[in-house]
Amino acid sequence: MSVSDLVESAFSGSSESGKTFGIRSDLLERFIKTIRRDLRAKIGFLVVALFGLSAIFAPMLAPYDPMSQQFPILMPPDPLSANPLGTDSFGRDLLSRLMYGARISLAVGLGAVTFGAVLGILIGLFAGYYGGYIDDLLMRAVDVMWAFPWLLIAIMLVAIFGQGFWNVMVAIGFAYIDDFARLARGEVLAIREEEYTMAAKSVGLEDYEIIFEEVFPNTVAPLIVQFTIFTARAILAESTLSFLGLGVKPTTPTWGALLGQGRGFITQAWWISIIPGIAIMVTVLGINLFGDALRDAFDVKETGQT
């Protein structure tokens, strides 16, 4: 079933209730079905749940305080010892640091994409719906943003506003505004002339009502896919910034920061930089798998934006 079929069936289905012409309920159903049926979605969901839960409950689950320097330094990983993943150059337990690091890395990743998605979708919806000079103006602004590689934007923003949780989140998310704006605009253009939009207009709904209650719900499928894929990207971005010493705070354990601290000990203690990298890889892989399954389920075309 393609998206247009989906839209059609939703249109005929929900218009009976007379409340909305959107496809929200169908989407949720598909979402759950995907997790049930698709192996990729299952693996992805499991991985994300595992890392997500261990991040949320880190204070309860972590064996030690991530900052306490109570062990011998540079102990190699040994599954049967007190430090299954070894210790760092200050004698801190790496497993505990990894679990606390997940909190920041995942939160920054999710937050960054949320920031970029909310602003980008708003810009895209308005540009696409109104067209004309509003569209021109907004899209030229988006064009200029596009001329900056993401890392450049993030580095400049962190340099100006300083390090810190919220700043890093915005610095990463800022670069995603244009991607979401383009996608949302394209979707709106495709459905602006559709029957249900016209119908809503003829009934005399206000513009903002049409945008948020009729147009937006029908752009949701590709946006969810993009949101998922970009979360994976944002987690990689956070690790890069932290590695460069421009992350949340040099002393806060995040996956990228742990990796960066291990860089000076590559020859003596490979595990300090290798293990956080594996955590990043597995999480990002899980999210990507999930996003890929969703892409197929929602029948969204691959654009290479992964």
């Binding site: 001329a147 900056f148 450049l152 590695f243 590559i266 990298g277 290479g304 992964t306």
Partner: protein, 319 residues
């Protein structure tokens, strides 16, 4: 609209974008907290010395005067002098451009050499073991931070096996082999994630082309399968691949910055990070403008290429 007019229009558009980028950078750099004169002179400099240096650096003038002067100099090709090293920014950029371009260039080459054959194989042998292997590997490739791949490669091939040096850069003018030995690991670190994305793109665009009517017709006419794939399929599948390769340039450039740090290479990325720490305004501006300039013009090139490979596209239509 003719091809020539279309290109002229696109070049003009790109120049406007670069002008706006330069303006944004000028003001953004001045919004970075910290007085460059104070940073340069150190913590125990006297207030008079700092004031004198500020005067000399032109920082006491109103912002708009600084901006107009700066624009005037840029139009003459003068990017200013580094506050930190007293060197011309242009000279500094030329000095660091070689390692960065070497890594990015070789990285892109590696990515293309892996991605295109793997993507085609994957599409032709859809849902067979070749496809599963290729898609799995590409998935893992896009899920790793490039600098981390660099660290892993460094530990294995430089530290344990000792096949290549772990740090630094040697110019190709001192010999191709030493040059390659220094940049092969960084290039792999940059190229593998990029190759993963390109491979996925090649696969999906090739699959789409293989399902087109004219491909079915060609096969029904009994043309050799392999020939069809290469002659007709690839030609059409290349269009989206080229576009995406251009779009992803930003990802590649971002990757180079962190990879330079891992391998201790004095490139554009390291210069940029160090200049921000030193509050070296002219150097930051120069580096950012250069990167955006390369980025915008590579995309312009891709765009023009795209229109010339595919004559069906109407010139001048916005996306």
């Amino acid at each position: 609209m003719g091809m020539r007019r279309y290109i002229a229009k696109r070049v003009a558009h790109a120049l406007v974008v670069i002008y706006i980028v330069a303006t944004i950078v000028f003001f953004a750099v001045r919004a970075i907290p910290g007085d460059p004169a104070r940073v340069l002179l150190g913590g125990d400099a006297s207030a008079e010395a700092i004031a004198a240096l500020r005067e000399e650096m032109g920082l006491t003038e109103p912002l708009y005067v600084q901006y107009i002067r700066w624009m005037g100099r840029i139009l003459q090709g003068d990017l200013g002098t580094s506050v930190f090293s007293d060197q011309s920014v242009l000279q500094m950029l030329i000095g660091v451009a070689e390692p960065t371009l070497s890594i990015a260039g070789l990285g892109m080459l590696i990515a293309l050499l892996i991605a295109i054959p793997a993507g085609i194989t994957s599409a032709v042998k859809q849902y067979q073991w070749e496809d599963y292997v290729a898609t799995t590997v590409s998935f893992i490739g896009i899920s790793m931070p490039g600098f981390w791949i660099g660290i892993v490669l460094l530990i294995i091939f430089a530290d344990r096996l000792g096949w290549v040096p772990a740090f630094g850069y040697v110019s190709f003018r001192q010999g191709i082999i030493p040059w390659l030995k220094h940049i092969i690991l960084p290039a792999l670190a940059v190229g593998l994630p990029y190759g993963g994305i390109l491979m996925r793109m090649t696969r999906s665009s090739m699959m789409e082309v293989l399902n087109e009517d004219y491909m079915r017709t060609a096969r029904a006419k009994g043309l050799d399968g392999r020939l069809i794939v290469f002659k007709h399929g690839l030609q059409n599948a290349l269009i989206p691949i080229v576009t995406v390769a251009g779009i992803l340039l930003g990802v590649l450039l971002g990757g180079v910055v962190a990879v330079e740090i891992v391998f201790g290479i004095q490139g554009l990325g390291r210069l940029l990070i160090a200049s921000i720490q030193r509050r070296d305004f002219p150097a930051i501006q120069g580096a950012v403008i250069l990167i955006s300039f390369v980025f915008v013009f590579m995309n312009l090139l891709v765009d023009v290429l795209y229109t010339s490979i595919n004559p069906q596209i109407k010139y001048g239509g916005s996306e």
